[in-house]
Amino acid sequence: MASVLEIADLHKSFGGIAAVNGVSFTVEEGEIVGIIGPNGSGKSTLFNCVLGQLQPTSGEVRIDGRVTTGMRPCDLNALGVSRTFQLLQVFPELTVRDNLIAAGQEHCGTMFSRLFGPRDAGLGPVADRMIEFFRLSHVAGERAGRLSYGQQKLLDAAMAFMGGPRLVLLDEPAGGVNLTMLGDLRERLRAINRERRSTFVVIEHNMDFVMSLCTRVLVLAEGRIIAQGSPDAVRNDPKVIEAYLGP
């Protein structure tokens, strides 16, 4: 069977700067892969190229063996690929519950049923379970823009799961989330991974979070993968220490 995600020799340059400079790796079903690397090493750009927000300069992306380079984000999402962004991206004027329904509704029914069918596209119970799962029950009817930063961050992550994705790419999910909530978030991600066999790729600067969550870690520096392996192996790799601390 094909890997869930295959990236082959991906390049992306902005003007003269090569933000992603020949990255190749594969992710198998059920894995939780971490991506770490200094600021500006090309992690977010890599995600943007995989998920259609940016066109790679060259290289290929395959999802379940199917070439998806250049596809629109909404079509990729229909294939079961979902993501979060580094900066918070919720719909501030909508309620928490509507944020979640909006995040999944395009996966339910047809254009016709979405106009004439049920108001919640049949997603009400799923949204309510997600709200409970991410401990947002007390703010479910609140407009998302009025939540605390940490709560919005949890909502942001929860939204990525509404469509029942097979592959989820999370860009710094732990940024700005307090320690208790961080533990919660890790447990939620693990549970979703276990129960649904969802595959994750997680960019994160919080080392404890990455090392305790991921089964495998890739290290990016200046647009290239400089090391990969189990969390322990990566932590002690001199190349990694050098990339972070400088020569």
Binding site: C74, F85, F91, A103, E106
Partner: protein
Amino acid sequence: MASAGLVRGTLAAVTVVVLAAGPEFLRPSQLYLVSLWAVTAIAAMGLNLTLGYAGQISMAQGAFVGIGAYTVALLMQAGLGFFPAFLAAGVLCFAVGWLLGYPALRVQHHYLAFVTLAFTTLVYLLLRNEQWLTNGVYGISGIQRPTALGFAFGTAARFYYFCLGIMALFLGAMWWMIRSPWGRAFMVLRENPVRALSLGVDTRRYTLLAFAIGSAVGGFAGGLFAPLVQFLEPNSFSLGYSLSLLLMVIVGGAGYLFGPLVGAAVAILLPDFLRFTEGYYLLLYAAAVMVLMAFCPQGLIGLSERWQANRRARLAAGGER
């Protein structure tokens, strides 16, 4: 304590009763004015979808009212009944609106404003210069009022009910759509198109739909405008008209279901009540709009919501008092 829902329900009921009894106490000129309010409110509702809910600025709504009005007038002149002509006006404006949506896929905000502004000018010039079709500046007169199932809506009072009925129909349809997943898709398009796209919302399709449906509603309003005024000329649909519709949506409260009704009332009904101010009405209106926009960009409905929220907060803080 009277809840906000009760206040709103009472207000709505009173409005409905007053409107229903209108012909009992309104002069014919006032009946005409209220009918014009209903027609204009429909046009503003269409723009409210495009601008208020889907977040796509358009300075072309007046042009669509013009296209709809001329379509109905010309088709009725050619012998078609009102209702098929009315339908044709909506369908034509849906198609043209869909096409006008394409620039919105490339540009946003003031650039999009200019594209739609140019379109309005183009439509105005076509109406004025293509004499063979539109009779140019001489306009089209003698437009008949509709007859439905042998019932003629010829008199001011009957046509008044006709306009209000159609407005209620459009208000209901808009309410339905806004609460459906389509409505949610339009709103996320406004709130954050990049995230929406990554969640599977085909932002391209919904942008085009927002333009097409908003324009079609404008076209229907035009289809009603023609038999109301019974005389069309290009000047009614110049850029100024599109701008005033835009102002109505914003003053009433963009992105609120009842915003366009309030905005159109302020622009159309209020001048009649404030006639004693004579030439100063426009001055007062302009000044009031400036103050409103500076302090409450959410418009009049937004302002009333803010008051209610403040009152709730005060009540919560003050306990039993």
